[in-house]
Symmetry: C2
Subunit: 482 residues, 2 copies
């Protein structure tokens, strides 16, 4: 039965050959003599049109059966249809199928939720199991798949090894705090409703109801990872160049269009790369992804350009051909301070850049992507390489128009003593990082990496506003359906 995909049929010569398609009916128009049916199989944005001329088929012995099938065809029905592939007189489509036989495989009643009319994205999220059958979510899903393959191809072509960081972890190395706990303890047997309130009056000794993690699956407290970077460093300092591309979790109580509790991250990590090399490859990576989208996802992109974000294709094309600006944080802050009257949060040296600052830099000042580097150490992570000035670290953020920060990266501190001192300064314990420190103890090397949130990239290349629409089944506070 294995069907030919409609995307392949649509680019075939209309030479009258016999073709059979399988798909779902998007629309049916039934006039006196003519029936037009649009069939989509999800392989591409476009549907293929089936046309049936009753006059021509007046003596077709199978006519009664075909008419019976037509009666069963409503929006959403699945069909198998055969006929001759011919040139289409209609505009916007090169070919169509002159229908000879059609069979309804599965009907869809008038209660089918995706009738031909506009639906709000909020409604579509409630039927996330059916929404990929819409233009919007179908296109987003294909873009997601294409961009994922672009990510793999970019790195594989450049000698990177794909590295799978562990998802369940007993270390809390980034100190992010907001982690999901993973357990097989029976909460029903160790928990009582109301004990939380009751515990407020308890004496401290009784309140110290420590959980006996020796009985838990891993014999200790375990959580879902917030980043695979530290583990990726262990492989980068053995295999040279690696990249992660996998799920990451954040138990942050943020119900916004920009946050998910479960999302996919891309984290390349490269031995013998200094910050300049890191910036070079980050720039090359972004351009590669945009070029891939522009060439391999064209019809989906045209939909986004016309229906979601006007000018999207022009914007992406511009960025794909720009040389990214590179500016030290200190200089960027000076430029922002000169425009502080325009900002809700005033910029000053030492501040963490807000999205309004980032967008101003890339949209107003440079009018192209900007890589800001050498940030104050206080606002960046402990593992970043310290500059000789004692104040800044070799961090870089890649800012793009329309979105602000797309990528965050750094050269990593490779000096055992400096790293150890910084960990202690921050009130953490060096011994908790014993394996991370080992990388600085045995054959340490300069190395760098960066992180890109896959869904943020997808918002950027599709123009889709809400991050929940670029992932199949979004997870967020109080949201875990399907």
């Amino acid at each position: 039965m294995k069907p030919t995909l409609i995307k392949d049929i649509l680019v075939s010569q209309p030479d009258g050959r016999d073709v059979t398609v399988y798909g779902w009916v998007r629309t049916k128009r039934d006039s006196k003599n003519l029936v037009f049916i649009q069939v989509n199989d999800g392989s591409c944005f476009a549907s293929i049109q089936l046309t049936f001329d009753r006059d021509e088929n007046a003596k077709n012995p199978d006519l009664e059966n075909i008419e019976n099938q037509f009666k069963k065809i409503l929006t959403g029905a699945s069909v198998k249809a055969s006929g001759k592939l011919i040139e289409s007189p209609a505009s916007g489509q090169a070919v169509e199928i002159k229908l000879e036989s059609v069979e309804v495989l599965g009907e869809a009643g008038s209660d089918y939720p995706l009738q031909k009319k506009g639906h709000t994205v909020e409604f579509l999220r409630e039927i996330a199991h059916l929404r990929p059958r819409t233009n919007l979510i179908g296109a987003a899903a294909r873009m997601r798949s294409q961009m994922a393959y672009a990510v793999h191809t970019f790195f594989q072509e450049r000698g990177f090894q794909y590295f799978n960081a562990p998802l369940i972890t007993a270390s809390d190395c980034e100190g992010a705090g907001e982690m999901f706990q993973v357990t097989t303890l029976d909460l029903e047997r160790i928990a009582k409703i109301g004990i939380e309130a009751g515990s407020k009056g308890m004496d401290p000794a009784k309140a110290a109801n420590l959980v006996d993690y020796s009985k838990d699956f891993f014999g200790k407290k375990a959580s879902l990872t917030v980043s695979g970077q530290l583990e990726a460093e262990t492989y980068a300092t053995a295999l040279g160049r690696v990249y992660t591309f996998g799920p990451t979790f954040r138990a942050e109580n943020s119900n916004t269009p920009r946050h998910l509790s479960e999302f996919w991250m891309i984290e390349p990590e490269m031995a013998f790369f200094e910050l300049e090399d890191d910036m070079d490859i980050a720039e090359e990576f972004v351009k590669y992804l945009l070029n891939w989208a522009l060439t391999k996802c064209r019809s989906d992109l045209e939909f986004f350009d016309s229906r979601i974000q006007k000018g999207l294709i022009e914007t992406l094309t511009h960025v794909a051909h720009s040389d990214f600006a590179r500016v030290p944080y200190t200089e960027a802050v000076k430029q922002l301070e000169a425009n502080n009257d325009k900002f809700e949060f005033k910029a000053f040296w030492g501040c963490d850049l807000q999205t309004e600052h980032e967008r101003f830099l890339t949209e107003q000042i440079y009018k192209k992507p900007v890589m800001v580097y050498d940030y104050p150490k206080e606002i960046k992570a402990f593992y970043m390489k310290q500059n000789p000035d004692g104040k800044t670290v070799r961090a870089v953020d890649v800012l793009v128009p329309g979105i602000g920060e797309l990528i965050g990266g750094s050269e990593r501190e490779s000096d055992y003593d400096k790293l150890s001192k910084r960990i202690t300064e921050l009130g953490m314990k060096v011994e908790d990082y014993w394996w991370y420190m080992d990388l600085r103890k045995y054959g340490t090397v300069p190395h760098s990496g960066f992180g890109l949130g896959f869904e943020r990239l997808l918002r950027y290349v599709t123009g889709i506003e809400n991050i929940r629409d670029v992932i199949p089944f979004p997870r967020a506070p109080k949201q875990c359906e399907f």
Copy 2:
């Protein structure tokens, strides 16, 4: 600094050009006049040899510095080395570098755990952060990366869309039971040591200490997924052909060389594919992966062939060129019953095939891969398409020599009434599957899919016995280090 990879240098012409390499020292041999240093950068199995002739360099003004660097070079040190690329007189390597300058970037002391000697795999697991620097784990890691890219390329070339199933789920649709719970409830505040023991004497009303999940992050009990299949079906019945490739979890208390608590699964799902199409593509997939391994991972594979499993390359080559046998379960069981004297567990119609049965079929009877199909419905999942005989379902397992079951798949039940009846028969509730049932309610189509455990594939193509050595940081009961 961005270096040229050693894998690229090793296939270059030895034309005396200047090259610079960055990597880690595997060995150093220092004789009277000659120094030989093997440097590996993880980009490929082989190291590159640096040679230094003291006689030739007697008048080199930099000699003292070079000698000082040599003193610092022990196994595990990281170096930057430059010289001329020349033909190597040594056997087993085409080129070597006539050393002109060398700089130690990071020393490794004599306490470096990976001194030049054999290490047990058990020891290496204790230093999982350093073990990719060994031949064995380095090769396994490169194979893993290559096989992952082969998976993506196979599906992308065939019009499949990559689909990311959710990891955190509130449904327990497979009924697998052994799931990890995901929570942000504070276990310290709802749990007391000893309450489990104490609860045994409690009256049932008091024992019903129900957890108030409205206070949990998702507002309900949530777990880590055991399979993305049901969600993949929602996308297959919209986009046509999809595949998952992501982490999956099983909280099974199995401490064996074949089980992990966290592993990666590949689950393609295809609309308009019947069981025969499913078998066709499963066979094509396995052969494609083996051919990829045989051609693109040759040097790593040669290591496995010579050190881990003699004859591995021959075995894989044979399978890659075999037509897989296809035999109904009923016939397979007859063949097994005729050999019941050889089995610990006697085969009979209705039994779930044991690994000993599977291996006997593929190794002794057919001497090539075998696809057994049409299994008794009692031993297979509820969603599999029911055969007209009322006894069997359209399931298929792909069995390969040396390992037994590699792939399990089926055509899915697409008939609403039959599926609904089966769910009820099994004591489950149809309403819990409302969204899954919707796929049968609106435009249902024949569809099929299968699952392949990525680490099982890796054990198969590398010959590595213990599954913990084909994943960077294995998770298993009481094991969650790094």
